[in-house]
């Protein structure tokens, strides 16, 4: 028997006094952790396969199960941590890259948590959203530079195409293929109900979802999967994906196992083949090439739809965003390094890119310094986790945010970071029919609507507390933020004062 270097991180703990051997856990686990021992007449489990998705725990009718972090400990070493040692074992065995999914889990600074929000006291009344109008309607799109009037002196109100959002929250790009049909249906219906938008990701648009086109952003990525004239025409906006926060600098890889007949048809590729999108767009090697693609897409759709350009937050993000703002794009999207993914090389996910808070602050300020902030709207994503994060993002200068991970969590995701295996027990990041059906879109869509509705209420309460009754007066209003536990440099980049410092 070969030496087993790897010990599972998590262990399944079963309280046998509670277990009624109903075998629900066995049926629920696509990773085949649980089984029934015929001789012993009890349930047994192999923790080696457990990803800690909590599906069995949630479904166990007698609460007999829990998952614990293992106490098995390698000799402690602050430099060579247990997880690093294990990774070496793994690669020594496989010779391959380490794969993972979802956002960066490492304990790097979360700047959202180091910014605090203001409230009115005495000199300026707070406003009660239960009693006064509190406006969060948001328009995305390029604004005109000059007022123009017709021969009668009336203002000419034609402008570049605009998107009207009832809430400044959209669902970020997640492709059909990386997530399931039922997950897509939930997102599409929720966006429609909420008066916002969801994003197809790079996997094309399933025929069944064309009817949600008014609330759909169709994505064009480097693989051009599923892109055709009808697809471009179907959405309310088009997003060119240049990069993704979870894996800046590389393309996507959807394993053949997830390319079912439906996914293959939607992506316009053969069934069962790996869908590998190239790292760059091979028609975009420079900013002027991007401009050509932006304008080509506009030409193809009659200049009726705003074009988004999404990039990962990288070191030179401000200058790149400035280039995009001059490329004819209507919306710049910045995706931070904690953003989720259905699959990424672990080292890339964990160590490439920068935090969205810093990238956002820097991009917004740069666009203002250049006087072109009104040329584009600014949307950010990459770990917006709560309504407070939304408020802080808008105060730093964002027009709207994308939520991806948060939306999946609303659908039941427990962040087990195993999407790339295609065995999502929650029916989200899988194409296996018996797993997909676990996510009921009628329930899923309602949970998404509930989440965004709840956040909207909280955003309005916080705005009212600040004495602000319309979202545009919060946008870029950095005086409403104060930092704690931040260095001078961090404060300078964020453009905020330290807590306790007076106005300005």
């Amino acid at each position: 028997m070969p030496i087993n270097y790897i010990y599972p991180d998590y262990e399944v703990v079963r309280d046998s006094s509670r277990c009624i051997t109903c075998r629900a856990c066995e049926r629920q686990c696509a990773n085949e952790v649980h089984s029934y021992d015929l001789e012993l007449k009890c349930m047994v489990s192999d923790s080696m396969n457990c990803v800690d998705c909590q599906r069995c725990v949630s479904l166990c009718p007698t609460r007999a199960l829990k998952i614990e972090k293992t106490t098995n400990t390698f000799k402690e070493n602050a430099n060579w941590t247990q997880s690093l040692i294990t990774d070496v074992y793994r690669q020594a065995e496989s010779g391959g890259m380490l794969s993972t999914s979802m956002g960066n889990p490492n304990p790097l600074p979360v700047y959202w948590d180091r910014m605090l929000i203001n409230a009115s006291q005495v000199t300026n009344p707070s406003i009660d959203p239960l009693r006064e109008p509190m406006e969060i309607k948001t328009f995305l799109g390029r604004k005109p530079e000059k007022i123009r009037r017709d021969e009668n002196g009336r203002i000419i109100t034609e402008m570049s195409p605009q998107l009207e959002l009832n809430v400044p929250i959209m669902f970020s790009a997640m492709s059909f293929g990386s997530i399931s049909y039922n997950a897509h249906e939930s997102l599409a219906r929720a966006a429609t109900k909420l008066g916002t938008l969801y994003n197809t990701g790079e996997g094309g648009l399933h025929q069944d979802f064309y009817k949600y086109g008014k609330n759909t952003i169709v994505q064009v990525a480097s693989g051009r999967f599923g892109v055709h004239k009808g697809y471009l025409d179907a959405g309310a906006a088009i997003e060119i994906k240049m990069g993704q926060g979870a894996k800046p600098g590389i393309g996507g890889h959807l394993p053949g196992a997830k390319i079912t007949a439906e996914v293959a048809r939607t992506r316009m590729i053969p069934e069962g083949t790996d869908a590998i999108s190239p790292a760059p767009h091979h028609d975009i090697y420079s900013i002027e090439d991007l401009r050509q693609l932006v304008l080509s897409l506009k030409e193809a759709t009659g200049y009726k739809k705003p074009v988004f350009v999404k990039i990962a937050a990288v070191h030179n993000v401000a200058a790149i965003a400035s280039g995009i703002a001059r490329s004819g794009a209507d919306v710049v999207v910045i995706d931070g390094f904690r953003g989720g993914t259905g699959s990424a090389p672990t080292r890339l996910r964990d160590f490439v890119g920068i935090p969205i808070e810093l990238a956002l602050a820097s991009v917004d300020q740069r666009l203002r310094d250049e006087g072109i902030r009104n040329n584009v709207s600014l949307v950010i994503g990459g770990s917006v986790r709560s309504s407070a994060d939304v408020v802080k993002a808008i105060a730093l200068g964002a027009d709207a945010v994308y939520i991806g991970t948060g939306a999946l969590i609303a659908l039941g995701c427990h962040l087990c970071r195993s999407c790339h295996t295609g065995k999502c027990n929650w029916g989200i990041a899988t194409q296996r029919p018996e797993l997909v059906k676990r996510l009921n879109p009628n329930v899923g869509y309602q949970r998404l609507v509930n989440l965004v509705t709840a956040w909207s209420h909280e955003i309005k309460e916080m705005m009212g507390g600040m004495g602000i009754n319309s979202i545009e007066a919060l946008r870029g209003n950095r005086l409403m933020l104060r930092g704690v536990g931040l260095t001078e440099t961090e404060l300078r980049v964020l453009g905020i004062k330290y807590a306790g410092e007076i106005w300005s």
Binding site: T123, F139, G467, E472, A473, R475, G476, I502
Partner: protein, 368 residues
Amino acid sequence: MLKEGSNGFRNPSGCAISGIFSKSGRRIPGDKIIKSIRIMHERSNGLGGGFAAYGIYPEFKDQFAFHIFYDHVKAKEECEAYLRNNFLIAFQSEIPTRKHPNICEAPLIWRYFAQPIEARLIEREIDEREFVSRVVTHVNTYIAGAYIFSSGKDVGVFKAVGYPEDVGEFYRLEEYSGYSWTAHGRYPTNTPGWWGGAHPFALLDYTVVHNGEISSYDANRRFIEMFGYKCSLLTDTEVITYIIDYLVRRQGLTMEETASVIAAPFWSVIARKSEEERRQLTFLRNMFAGLLITGPFSIILGFSGGIMALNDRLKLRSMVAGEKGDMAYVASEESAIRIIEPDLDRVWAPSGGEPVIFTLNGGEHKCR
């Protein structure tokens, strides 16, 4: 004296405002506005008062009238050299004041009537108003100890640290007559002590007196600074003045349109308007989203030939308007109107976000 805005010092304040306007263009002596603002003594705390007057310099009405504070003679020399390089100065003098027991630590206060040198406009390819606005920004930003606090034609701002009625007496305002007056008494929640920080705040012929504390300040500041303005005082009034200059002078909006940007109707109100109006209001709100002002304010904007009074859209600050014959009045409190005109034809409290505009008879207020 710590100049406001330096070291990030921002000073929110409460206040009293008052305005008098003669639609027939009859010139009213300054003691009347002093009487009006005096009765609202309790709304100020002695840390700033000031006045703006229109039509007071008929003999120099085609010249830009600069009122300038100097902290010291060196600043005056430097500023005058700069002005002489850019303007033909028709006349200059100290602004007459009288000794006043409650007004102390006065800077040097000078005024200049001047016209830009034509060659300076040609070489920059800009009109004289744009030129003057750039000069004001330059002096106030780069010449230490010099501060231009009034820069329009046939208009003058007079302000100081003190109660407004004392400031009016200090400047001998009873000796001036104008068709339009506004006044301000300040209640800052901090000790400024700097004369430039008093209101009105002025750029060209736009003067703003303001009562309130806007919650949108930094959103507005960071938006307007994209267009060459520099908010150095960090006061609400300063940013409001720049917004008005940008919308009216540079974008050519009417006063009503300007009001629908800075105190925009709620979306629910816009939804009830006619198709045409809805399209226009939506367009303006969307295009100038960064210039919506939230939080409490009441302002009186003075401009050549008119005044506009405006409340925030929730009306979180008191403001009353009145009319008698050709005279129009606006004030924080009705008492400030009644004290100078007890027998009014009409008195009303304008709704939030509803601009009240008075202009000289037969004169359209300027569109640009």
